[in-house]
């Protein structure tokens, strides 16, 4: 059924169609409306045969999810930002134990300074925790990815994070086709766990493993994700056949035929990038873009195939490896091993800063002239930086940096973009 609803509401309805049996969440900021919606559906009975467990923290949320998944039931939770960091230890446990939990990340920045707005720092901090990470471009894709995620997670016994941009998607009203229950049931069979904590047939899950087998356990986790590289496109194709929509897959190339310049990015910013690509293509510029949907496993081969013919690649990322530059860029460069082309990292949209068409156009024009630095911070306020550096050079007790920058800026509420 086609609906005009908030992204979070759409995800709640999509998750409910997947018939989760346990949902646990810590309902305070940084949480989204997703679990609020699901809690309501459990209470009204709209989502039957499901237990909603309110817990005392994000650490508890994922710990309960681990318990229920190990007991053999389909389990879901959601978090973002500081909440994901607080559950970090359990994040590694869930994947280490091979438990197919699906968790939504409503991507937000990580403090300090306190910032509740969108970027990809939270999910990126867990990129090597052994979870599959899928990034949605629209709310429709976010809903669709959840259905695919349960199928993928349970097939492989591996947890999946579905990442969707906080606020930009979670708080946006747009049209979403909410699928029919029978179609979801046909696509997503009941959960058949590989391991179950069952008093009738007692087993131990999570025993100590020493040097004799730890490497092999980790190798098998890696092997699962390599298998996911094959399964993700297959599941997307099967999804398209049943639901009539292209959602998911490893990467999404856009107008890359004959493109000399290709922009790579993750998540909702792809839409704005495509607008600029269209504008420049209309002027005869050979430019295209690629959205990475599957960040873990990282689609090295698919990217290599798409990017190999280009002269330059601009990786636009909403995260920063402090002291290095890009995080996504690292993988993109690996995919291009042995291929000579110019690669640029652009850090953009941190802490919710709007990424505008005007800024992207200027950036891509600079890229075309190969006038970009290896690492560029989009729309960086250099006056503000220089003023602060000068202040720090001239005095010792300059006080807290973030507050000094805000004072220098004055009224921030007046800013529109």
């Amino acid at each position: 059924m086609l609906k005009q609803i908030e992204g979070s509401r759409g995800i709640a309805e999509g998750v409910a169609l997947c018939r989760p049996q346990v949902i646990c969440a810590y309902p305070i900021t940084p949480q989204t409306h997703i679990v609020e919606g699901l809690g309501e559906m459990v209470k009204t009975g709209e989502l039957a045969a499901c237990e909603f467990i309110n817990v005392e923290s994000e650490f508890a949320a994922l710990s309960v999810a681990i318990g229920s998944s190990a007991a053999g039931v389909r389990t879901y939770t959601a978090t973002s930002s500081q909440g994901l960091l607080f559950m970090a230890e359990a994040v590694y446990n869930a994947s280490g134990l091979g438990l197919p939990i699906v968790m939504t990340i409503g991507n937000r920045a990580i403090g300090a300074p306190i910032n509740i707005w969108n970027d990809h720092s939270d999910a990126m901090s867990m990129r090597d925790a052994g979870w599959i990470q899928l990034y949605a471009e629209t709310n429709q894709e976010a809903l669709d990815l959840h259905i695919q995620a349960f199928r993928l997670a349970e097939e492989l016994s591996c947890p999946v994070m579905v990442c969707m941009d906080g606020f930009i998607l979670t708080h946006a009203y747009e049209r979403i086709e909410v699928p029919a229950q029978e179609d979801v049931d046909a696509y997503l069979p009941p959960f058949e766990p590989r391991q179950v904590l069952d008093p009738a047939e007692p087993v131990t899950i999570g025993a100590m493993v020493g040097p004799e087998a730890f490497t092999e356990v980790r190798y098998l986790a890696h092997h699962k994700q390599m298998r996911a590289l094959d399964r993700i496109p297959q599941l997307a194709a099967e999804f398209a056949a049943r639901f009539g929509r292209d959602s998911g897959g490893l990467i999404r190339p856009y107008r890359t035929e004959g493109a000399e310049t290709i922009v790579v990015s993750l998540g909702s910013i792809n839409g704005t990038v495509q607008e600029v690509v269209d504008e420049m293509r209309a002027e005869g510029v050979a430019i295209g873009s690629v959205g990475i949907t599957s960040f873990r496993p990282f689609p090295l081969a698919a990217l290599r195939e798409t990017l190999a013919g280009a002269k330059r690649v601009v990786v636009l990322e909403k995260c920063l490896a402090v002291g290095l530059g890009g995080i996504v860029s690292d993988g993109v460069r690996k995919s291009l091993s042995g291929i000579q082309l110019n690669g640029y990292t652009v850090v953009a949209g941190l802490g919710g800063r709007a990424i505008t068409r005007v800024s992207l156009r200027r950036l891509f024009d600079d890229a075309l002239r190969d006038a970009l630095a290896q690492v560029t911070f989009l729309d960086l306020n250099t006056d503000l930086i220089e003023h602060e550096l000068e202040r720090e050079a001239n005095a010792r007790r300059t006080g807290p940096t973030a507050e000094a920058l805000l004072r220098r800026l004055g009224a921030v509420s007046a800013r529109i973009g």
């Binding site: 969108n118 606020f167 049209r175």
Partner: protein, 218 residues
């Protein structure tokens, strides 16, 4: 570009029986300003739902500022015949809705506004009295409207939430969405008595706007 929407008459945009014309139009962009607690965000959401009821693609989202009572708040709505990919804030609005006139001296409200655009202002006073004479001379005066939306909300809903009356005025002034679609959006958002009082408020604002337009631009 966007001006396509604005250069057509209200009647042409609405087409026959209130249905929008079917040919492809460029995206229409709305920016709403207000203060936390005035329903700015739900106003944009309901507008997107109204457009959705007319078969259009629509996108509504809040500005990502601090959401607290009284703080300046923005929300955006885009309406198009094609899927909307753009995610940036509305930098160049075709329609500007100002829910709180005290923002006039605090926020750069008119930034990026098209000279052919519409301005809908919640105020008992006119543009001239509010010191907006320059704006009137820069814009098309028949596209600027001031309406005491808070008074209408207080009368019908009993709360100082001007968002719904302003949607009624939006429909009457711009013709971009039909009143029936706005009413349907309100009924989707509210239930019971609250739905009825808000529907009464939107009708009142719609009628008052039409009367204002007739007297001012007859």
């Amino acid at each position: 570009m966007r001006a396509g929407w604005l250069h057509r008459t209200r009647e042409a945009r609405l087409g026959i029986a209130g249905r929008p014309a079917t040919e492809v139009e460029p995206v229409l962009q709305v920016r709403m300003h207000g203060r936390g607690g005035q329903g700015v965000v739900s106003g944009a959401e309901m507008l997107s739902v109204a457009a959705f009821h007319e078969g259009r693609h629509a996108q509504a989202f809040p500005s990502f500022g601090s959401e607290r009572m009284g703080a300046p708040v923005m929300a955006f709505c885009r309406i198009d015949d094609r899927p909307i990919r753009l995610r940036e804030p509305v930098m160049a609005p075709d329609v500007l809705v100002i829910q709180d006139a005290t923002l006039l001296h605090q926020v750069d409200l008119f930034n990026g506004l098209s000279p052919d655009g519409y301005v809908l202002l919640n105020s008992r006073q006119g543009y001239e009295a509010l010191g907006l004479g320059d704006l009137m001379r820069r814009m098309r005066p028949e596209r600027l409207l001031a309406l005491p939306a808070t008074d209408i909300a207080l009368e019908h809903v009993g709360r100082a939430v001007p968002n719904v009356p302003l949607l009624g005025a939006f429909a009457a002034l711009t013709g971009i969405v039909h009143l029936d679609s706005v009413v349907a959006a309100i009924r989707g958002k509210f239930a019971g008595r609250l739905a009825e009082t808000n529907v009464a408020a939107v009708h009142a604002a719609y009628e008052q706007t039409r009367r204002l337009l007739e007297t001012t631009h007859a």
